[in-house]
Subunit: 324 residues, 2 copies
């Protein structure tokens, strides 16, 4: 399958997610990239592969490729960015699940990395994946200017002001706004009163960094690796901001409403732990409305790409309507 056939595939255009035909290409590239060489200790490599190759939607890599196509580039040229961003995403999940962090033992129905292996191996696998993401970019993007720009974009998104900073604030925010006792029951979630505007701004700031930064970086990487213009970049940044927040609002809603089997992880846990959530601050209906507003803004932003926006447009609707 080539990017040319992808562009003209009618079945792909009927795909509600906008990226189902990209997934096998991404899986293949990830599997190839997960050969870390003879110098990599076996258990460490196994733990890295366990995390990167875990079943998943590949949303972030898909965004890289979709942005590249929207900007008029070849999907294949953007693949190094797709692989690198998924390695960063995989590292962040490994470390977020650690006992000292969110202390999760299950992710998408599988034991988390530190449960399957051990805590030291999980820490090291995460560390190695960060470095490997940048190695992969530099080894697979032949133009040094594009490689350096891509590294800078991804490194900033993964750094202390964005991905890591968001996780730090997320941990710090636990129990700050909502009393665990008040939010322990799924049925009783509602606006908690008090200064919700400040809490909402704080919540959006956390998510813009924790989730939004990597989504924005994915789209920016796609633009970089396909020679996108400044106008393209601005449109993708606006799309990223709105879809990223919509993704998080829907995640919070699913955490409350989906059952454990569908999500493959313990649900309602965020509320029990007293974490800030959109339904907690806006109520169920308010959160649903917020997700719809954000999706509409995202759709507006990508009109600049004309018909080449169909993947991004489908994706925005999919984020809003997904059930898991």
């Amino acid at each position: 399958m080539t990017s040319a056939t992808l562009l003209t595939s009618k079945s792909a255009e009927n795909d509600p997610t906008g990226f189902r035909d990209l997934q096998p290409l991404i899986e293949e590239a990830l599997a190839t990239a997960c050969d870390f060489g003879a110098g990599c200790p076996e258990r460490l490599g196994d733990a890295m592969r366990y995390a990167v190759l875990a079943p998943g939607k590949r949303l972030r890599p898909a965004l890289v490729l979709m942005a590249a196509e929207a900007c008029g580039g070849q999907i294949i040229h953007a693949m190094p960015g797709a692989v690198a961003v998924e390695m960063i995403h995989a590292y962040s999940l490994i470390h977020d699940d650690l006992p000292a962090m969110d202390d999760d033992d299950l992710r998408r129905g599988r034991p988390t990395c530190h449960i399957k292996f051990d805590e030291a191996t999980a820490i090291l696998a995460g560390d190695a994946l960060i470095a490997q993401a940048f190695t992969h970019l530099c080894e697979n993007v032949s133009d040094p200017l594009l490689a350096a720009t891509a590294v800078r974009t991804l490194a900033k998104a993964a750094g202390p002001c964005h991905l890591v900073g968001g996780q730090a604030d997320d941990l710090a925010a636990e129990n700050r706004f909502v009393e665990p006792e008040e939010s322990a029951s799924k049925d009783e979630i509602q606006i908690t009163g008090g200064d919700n505007t400040a809490a909402l701004m704080h919540l959006e700031s956390i998510h813009q960094r924790k989730t939004g930064a990597l989504i924005a970086a994915s789209l920016s990487l796609g633009a970089t690796l396909s020679g996108g213009t400044e106008q393209h970049r601005a449109a993708l940044a606006c799309f990223a901001k709105n879809v990223g927040l919509a993704f998080q609002v829907v995640d919070d809603l699913l955490d409350l409403t989906a059952d454990a089997a569908a999500m493959g992880k313990r649900t309602g846990k965020d509320a029990v732990k007293g974490k800030l959530t959109y339904p907690g601050l806006l109520g169920l209906e308010g959160a649903k409305q917020r997700a719809e507003d954000l999706t509409r803004k995202a759709q507006e932003a990508i009109k600049v790409f004309g018909k080449r926006n169909w993947r991004l447009s489908s994706l925005a609707n999919y984020v809003l309507e997904r059930q898991h």
Copy 2:
């Protein structure tokens, strides 16, 4: 102080370490680089600075600058590499000290990062420093080819086949060759018998990766950022290999012979934990001889630089003769 005055400074040439005059320049650059921006949560930034700006010899950054000077370049042009490698080194110390890893609560007389802050913050500070190292390189090396080459060098050295792989093997090697009970007393350390050749090769493999890779990367970064030739690179790689191992042999010797106050950390601990060490495998005298042989080979390698090798030459002797 400029790099021009550094090159001609007689007092600097009398410095037995070869880099004492570089240290204030490095400290200044690190302090400037540790302003992570308004988006960085305060506690996270504090933890990152606590680790990066901790008192230290700045051996790796000094090696970057020394290699640049040996290759005929300007020290100041290599400073982004010096800062980046120290960030990677600082991250590796934070994570190595974690309870799930070496479980150290003291480093150079100060509480380790997870003791001073908390475990989650320490994990995140380490993660953020890896990303920040690459951001710093890309933002401060203006030539994209040099930036991409530098990122590739440092990312490979920090990755699963080198720095992280070495730490993984180091943890796995604990208690494999030496019984803790036999090596618990400092006075009783001796060759443990059995297949020492295999154990020695395994030990060197670990150290070439855990310590050696970052030392080699430091010298390589200096060559890259100063336009060093292939001959320069080969000489620096040979120097790196031998000085790196000598550094580790001396570290093992100091672990046995120095007292806790001088080292600022618990001594003899490696032996108690049953870790592979050079004195454990070669005996005290054998280990000392090994360090001297390695230093001689390092000195041979840098003859190609003529008089511009004085810093590297002093450094090799300093590594051999240091008391802490």
